[in-house]
Amino acid sequence: MRITEIEVDNFKSFGRKVKIPFFEGFTVISGPNGSGKSNIIDSILFVLSLSSARGLRAERLTDLINVNTGRNTAEVTITFSDGTSIRRRIKKTANGYYSYHYMNDRVCRQGDVIEFLTRHGIKPEGYNVVMQGDVTRIMDMSDTERRKIIDEIA
């Protein structure tokens, strides 16, 4: 199974809705500093609930909403090769935010998304997503922290 498309709307630097096609094999994402490359990786982690706000360089989920457009929602939709689409929407409110999850356009709970991912071999403690700076982080960690990586895998 693979990703076939990601649609990012008002999430971080994606002030305008952008559709990004995904293919088999080896795809490189490149471009200038600050253009949005890491933000694409963040959008995948966000829609699949694989990371906290802090892991996405934000303090709270509402920081993920683009600050330039004046809109109060951010939305990411991911489509897989088996036809499944998963969407997540953050909506800023007076006191905080709502976080909505959808599978195939029907409202679902975060747990349903996690369960779908686990069935397809995608887990938060897997190392299939390596973020910018992770290599240095693993290099510099204490020997005990490094052993705990194996603890979590086992």
């Binding site: 795809t27 490189v28 200038p32 949005g36 490359k37 299939n128 194996i150």
Partner: protein, 152 residues
């Protein structure tokens, strides 16, 4: 719990030995400090990149530490395969020839999996099947400029 840990550890160590050797023409493996009770100690690397005599792991160069850590990450990834991999600028410390080696390894891993690699390095970009270009519009919003198919 001990059994689950040792099963994972042995498999990842075996992967690490193989991957490290193919990335560096040297030898390396993982060491558990607590031999009888792994949970009483940590885990560290014992490596000789390029078959060098290495006094301390801390004395390794930035690129050598990076290759060692990447071999560890790949060892984990080949132990728990996933349908897609996303790697964000893992080639930062590497000289050109090491970028070529890592790019070739990613190309192999991508035969049976989908890989999305963020990189600024020419040898990595050249070896990809395609390039997604990311830029900013004048209004500071991200624009994905389209997909070149690489024939490299």
């Amino acid at each position: 719990k001990y059994d689950a840990f040792m099963t994972a550890f042995r498999a990842i160590n075996a992967n690490f030995r193989e991957i490290f050797a193919s990335l560096t023409n040297g030898n390396g493996h993982l060491i558990l400090e607590g031999e009888d009770d792994p949970f009483s100690g940590g885990m560290k690397f014992a490596v000789q990149p390029g078959d060098k005599n290495v006094p301390l792991v801390s004395s390794l160069s930035g690129g050598e530490k990076s290759i060692t850590t990447l071999a560890f990450i790949f060892a984990i990834q080949t132990y728990i395969p996933a349908p897609f991999y996303a790697l964000d600028e893992v080639d930062m410390f590497l000289d050109g020839s090491n970028v070529v080696r890592v790019a070739s390894m990613i190309k192999d891993l991508s035969k049976n999996a989908q890989s999305v690699i963020v990189s600024l390095r020419k040898p990595m970009i050249e070896r990809a099947d395609r390039i997604l270009g990311v830029t900013l519009r004048p209004d500071m919003s991200t624009y994905v400029t389209g997909v070149k198919n690489n024939d490299g």
